[in-house]
Amino acid sequence: MRKITYLEAIREAMQQMMREDENVYLLGEDIAEYGGAFGVTVGMLEEFGKERIRNTPISEAAIIGVGIGSALTGMRPIAEIMFSDFMTIAMDQIVNQAAKIRYMFGGKAKVPLVIRTAGGGGTGAAAQHSQSLEALFTHIPGLKVVMPSCPYDAKGLLISSILDDNPVIFIEHKLLYKNKKYMQHVPEEIYRIPLGKGDIKREGRDITIVATSFMVQRSLEVADILESEEGIDCEVVDPRTLRPLDMDIIISSVKKTGKVVCIEEACYFGGFMGEVVSQIVEKAFDYLDAPVLRIAGRDCPVPYSLVLEEEMIPSVGRIKKGMLDLLGRF
């Protein structure tokens, strides 16, 4: 069985959908001969030509606006915003336009636009190239927000996103792209993973970990350590889509274990996991045997210093310690 990287899975999803449907096209900065800042679109210009692999100037607001306009008129654009930090430059188009058009127009229009972008830190790229901004988007009705944590999910979720008639924010993680450690078997054919359906990445009895994106991989690492060192059996739940959110899968896990820790890379204050926790408390309070624990990025911009960055983003050490404290083991 062939194994591929996260980056290859994303590329394959786009290539296959472009072969299936001539209305699917890409636009973004440096995506043509250069293959994108992270190399996701390498080789696509050669197959699809420059009309469908459209290099743009550094004009993020227009990139998204162009995507919206062509989506409204029959195309299925995939816009690439090089770093998720630059999404903020296109915020009017994303929040006031893309998200609202279908509803505002009485359901008579649709915006089948996918915005792919690279999020997250751990790369020493400092404050403006490392943020995890998903909560800005999950707050907006009309947007779907997807954050795959592995190659298999990346392909299936991206295909569903392209087929979806609503704008989808598809946030990839830089540390997942090329790392061979995360390579996985990915079917060669087209397959879909429904948006709004979470996944149990590891079954366990003692405690539920809810995590997103790269933090799913980090949680799995911690789960292995806790099992071998402490005999603690963790269940790792990956919502995969943050909006719509599969709360059922989270609640049933919490009902089983009675304890939950929510882990995200984004800053703690106002983070997406605040929403998850509040829903857990509303829907499963009686099942909880311990306070809910949140472990998140420290409330500051991502620092350049590797020493500080390691401290800012939840590390294996910090997650492990937090969980042991919660479980009363010191």
Binding site: D30, I58, F86, A126, A127, Q128, L306
Partner: protein, 338 residues
């Protein structure tokens, strides 16, 4: 309102040339070499993983920063870009503090929190490099506001690339600076590429300076490899700004000798093109040859300049290496206080 042709600009400028003392010209050479050698060392250190993240060398473009910064004073403001080391050095930044920042050390300009793309020295009027392309352009309008309200003739220089000129903020900012007649000098460093995208493919007009017409401000194109030409045009724009005549747009035609960053092989550029610029448009060679020819300087003077700069860069690296990492305790406390 008319666009000034290149020829016209140059002719008007010859007068200023006479004011250019030998000392100033030698100083220009020193600064250009200082930037070059600093950047070369940075690339080496990047390859040794002493510096990480994103590093955008300024090699090949040194005459732009030096020519412009020689035309302003210490009290004037400067707004920089992701390719900002040259701007910092030309404005007079300390090499040790810069290097320490690139090493992520506590003694760096930003206590190790910023890195290459965020170096700032507010005491020097350096309002920051920027990781966001175009991010500094509107900030320069605000600084221009302050200068105007202060009324002491202070000016702002705003550097940005050809790529940045296609972001919406460029339009919003230049229009505003013009309607309010703000003392801002816009300097577009047109190095022909924004990462892989050639300016011919990204930009609808031939010269970015042509856009000055739409903003009703003087526009100039200048050979960015020639520090004296850059200086003359900048001086004119600075004088106009100080005199309350409002902003100008200078487009310096330049070239980056290396890739966008140290790991970019820059395969999107033809070998011939790169060779041409390295041979004909190297700011160091252009100035050295002129100063040698005019007997302002000798080979051995140049060697001495090189030795002195090498020594200062060695010292900067040593300072950075020996400096402590940022303290975790302090970091956590400061976050809590914020």
């Amino acid at each position: 309102m008319k666009s000034l042709s290149k020829k016209e600009n140059y002719d008007k400028m010859t007068v200023l040339n006479e004011n250019l003392t030998k000392e100033i010209q030698v100083e220009m050479l020193k600064k250009i070499i200082e930037i070059r050698r600093f950047e070369e060392r940075c690339i080496q250190l990047y390859q040794q993983a002493k510096i990480w993240g994103y590093l955008h060398p300024y090699i090949g473009e040194e005459a732009v920063a030096v020519g412009v910064c020689m035309a302003i004073g210490v009290k004037d403001y400067l707004v920089s870009t992701h390719r900002g080391h040259g701007h910092c050095i030309a404005k007079g930044a300390d090499l040790g503090k810069m290097m320490a920042e690139l090493f992520g050390k506590s003694t760096g300009y930003c206590k190790g929190r910023g890195g290459s793309m965020h170096i700032a020295d507010t005491e020097l009027g350096m309002l920051g490099a920027n990781g966001i392309v175009g991010g500094g352009i509107p900030i320069s309008v605000g600084a221009g506001f302050s200068c105007k309200m202060e009324g002491k003739g202070r000016v702002v220089v705003c550097f940005f690339g050809d790529g940045a000129a296609n972001n919406g903020v460029f339009h919003e900012s230049l229009n505003m600076a013009s309607i309010y007649k703000l003392p801002v000098i816009y300097v577009c460093e047109n190095n022909l590429y924004a990462i892989s995208m050639c300016v011919k493919d990204s930009t609808a007009c031939e010269n970015i300076a042509d856009r000055s017409l739409a903003y009703n401000m003087p526009g100039y194109t200048v050979d960015g490899s020639d520090v004296i030409e850059v200086y003359k045009i900048a001086k004119k724009a600075v004088e106009a700004a100080r005199a309350g005549k409002g902003p100008s747009l200078i487009e310096a035609k330049t070239y980056r000798f290396y890739g966008h960053h140290p790991n970019d092989p820059a395969e999107y550029r033809g070998k011939k093109e790169v060779e041409y610029y390295k041979k004909e448009k190297d700011p160091i060679l252009v100035l050295e040859n002129r100063l040698l020819k005019e007997k302002v300087i000798t080979r051995s003077d140049i060697e001495e300049i090189e030795r002195d700069i090498q020594k200062r860069i060695d010292e900067a690296v040593k300072f950075a290496e020996e400096s402590p990492e940022p303290e975790l305790e302090r970091f956590l406390e400061e976050i809590r206080e914020a």
